[in-house]
């Protein structure tokens, strides 16, 4: 079992930690270099985790376990107006990123109001490309009740954030109160306590997705697929995006158009099979990036019979 951790420290000698992770059979999920600082999200075998902690201490860096690493979360705001951004939506996004997830922020075109709010099929499709959706709604419980159709038909686990302490609706499993409309940065102690609670709920939602996948396991772990692509696909290191390959619970996303990507993976083989035989590869109709959904064992067996 892998343990996910976030390392923050200086750039000097950080490659020693990268080498150690590699030697232990672990993976580097994400790497961000900012001037002389480096942030690494790593996955290491649980039994060797202490070695990594020891190394991080030696490098005078900070290492923390991150429960959300390896997942992609979309934060949905009713709109992209000043009423919702930058506070609280960007603060929520930042806190989730600090817990290892890759985040997308999305504003609905008509998500505001009681009577006039609505969601389009395109918006639903975009939200469902992630592993978990986090909805940041407002202060009024009556308004929240009128907006349930915005998140009830979404096919991925949904976490709702709102002002009221309690919000019970049938079909909604995860709710965190106390984060409604805010106009100042959320950095007070009680805000951070609510954020911790929020991360707890999101972890449960991610765990639910993972459990669903485990019922019919994937033929290849997304983290292995990421490594295969990184080592063999030419041009991935030249993608300008800070995270060229995004890990999902059931696959990966490569920020490259499909026609370019298909050309490059034509001759790549892993364990005697081509990459195309392991996963369904298609282009996102919304963002144009390539999505690889790994086949489940039962599906893989059925197509090979």
């Amino acid at each position: 079992m892998f343990k996910m951790a976030l390392f923050e420290g200086g750039l000097h000698r950080a490659d020693e930690l990268e080498d150690l992770v590699d030697d232990l059979g672990g993976f580097l999920i994400q790497k961000n270099v900012t001037q002389i600082d480096i942030t690494l999200i790593i996955a290491v075998p649980g039994e060797d985790y202490e070695l990594v902690v020891k190394k991080a201490k030696e490098l005078r860096g900070k290492i923390v376990e991150v429960p959300l690493a390896g997942s992609e979360i979309t934060i949905v705001a009713p709109s992209l107006g000043k009423h919702h951004l930058p506070h609280p939506v960007c603060d929520i996004s930042e806190y989730i990123r600090r817990n290892g997830a890759v985040t997308n922020v999305m504003g609905l075109a008509r998500g505001v109001g009681q009577r006039i709010n609505q969601i389009t099929a395109t918006e639903k499709g975009m939200i469902e490309e992630a592993d978990v959706a986090v909805y940041s709604l407002g202060n009024f419980s009556r308004c929240l009740l009128k907006k349930t159709h915005l998140f009830m038909d979404i096919d991925i686990p949904v976490v709702v954030l709102g002002g009221p302490e309690q919000f019970n609706v049938q079909g909604l499993d995860y709710y965190v109160g106390g984060i409604g409309r805010r106009s100042q940065r959320l950095r007070q102690k009680f805000d951070l306590d609510i954020f911790d609670k929020m991360v707890g709920e999101i972890s449960k939602a991610v765990e639910k997705s993972r459990r669903e996948v485990e019922e019919d396991p994937l033929i290849l772990e997304p983290i292995y697929l990421k490594k295969i692509l990184e080592e063999n696909v030419e041009g991935i290191d030249k993608i300008i995006s800070p995270i060229p390959i995004v890990l999902n619970v059931d696959g990966v996303k490569v920020k490259m158009p499909l026609n370019q990507f298909k050309e490059k993976i034509k001759n790549i083989e892993f364990d005697g099979r081509k990459i195309e035989e392991y996963c369904n590869i298609y282009q996102s109709p919304y963002s144009g990036i390539t999505i690889l959904k790994i086949y489940t064992k039962s599906y893989f067996d059925s197509i090979n019979k």
């Binding site: 107006g81 000043k82 109001g113 009681q114 009024f140 419980s141 009221p164 409309r181 106009s183 100042q184």
Partner: protein, 180 residues
């Protein structure tokens, strides 16, 4: 600054008090405001915000913000903020002989200075009212785009909804507007 929230359950009222406080701080108008009334009816989706300004400030004239040196025929402006306003006023009258020598120094012939020294360059209350209006728009829910605005010397009241505003709501807004 006093914030009074009405029509909402206690918890939601507390949330709105914090929100209004933060918005007023963001717009840097907390010290200029005496009272904020917020009324919310989530069933009918009608929201009213009424703001009382503390003090109405006098308009500032050129002689209030700058000193004229008759020997050098130079106008020294106290604050850079007023320079573009003064220059635009001067250039609307005459361009010849008027020259900005430094960031806050303007060369003006004496007869031109005598002509314009009583002109108003800045209306602080107008500026404050603009900010108050912006702050009210931020306090009100985003969907409440249909607005009914009442404005007096020291008070601005806005009633808003996502539906057409009823006469009853307008009367309620009037009541908040006239309240102490």
């Amino acid at each position: 600054m006093e914030i009074i929230v009405e029509g909402l359950p206690e918890k939601e009222s507390q949330g709105y008090v914090v929100l209004i406080n933060d918005i007023m701080r963001e717009f840097e108008i907390r010290r200029s405001i005496e009272k904020v009334y917020f009324y919310g009816d989530t069933e009918k989706f009608v929201f009213i915000t009424s703001i009382r300004i503390k003090k109405v400030l006098e308009p500032l004239r050129i002689e209030d913000v700058a000193i004229y040196n008759q020997e050098k025929e130079t106008l020294s402006v106290e604050d850079e903020f007023y320079v573009p306003k003064i220059l635009s006023l001067l250039w609307s009258i005459k361009k010849e002989g008027i020259e900005q020598e430094d960031r806050t120094e303007i060369k003006i012939p004496l007869e031109v200075f005598n002509q314009i020294k009583g002109e108003v360059v800045y209306y602080p209350t107008e500026d404050l009212k603009k900010n108050v209006q912006e702050a009210i728009n931020r306090v009100l829910p985003e969907a409440a785009r249909i607005k009914y605005i009442l404005s007096a010397e020291k008070t601005i009241t806005v009633a808003s909804s996502e539906n057409a505003l009823s006469e009853e709501s307008k009367k309620l807004a009037q009541k908040f507007h006239e309240r102490d």
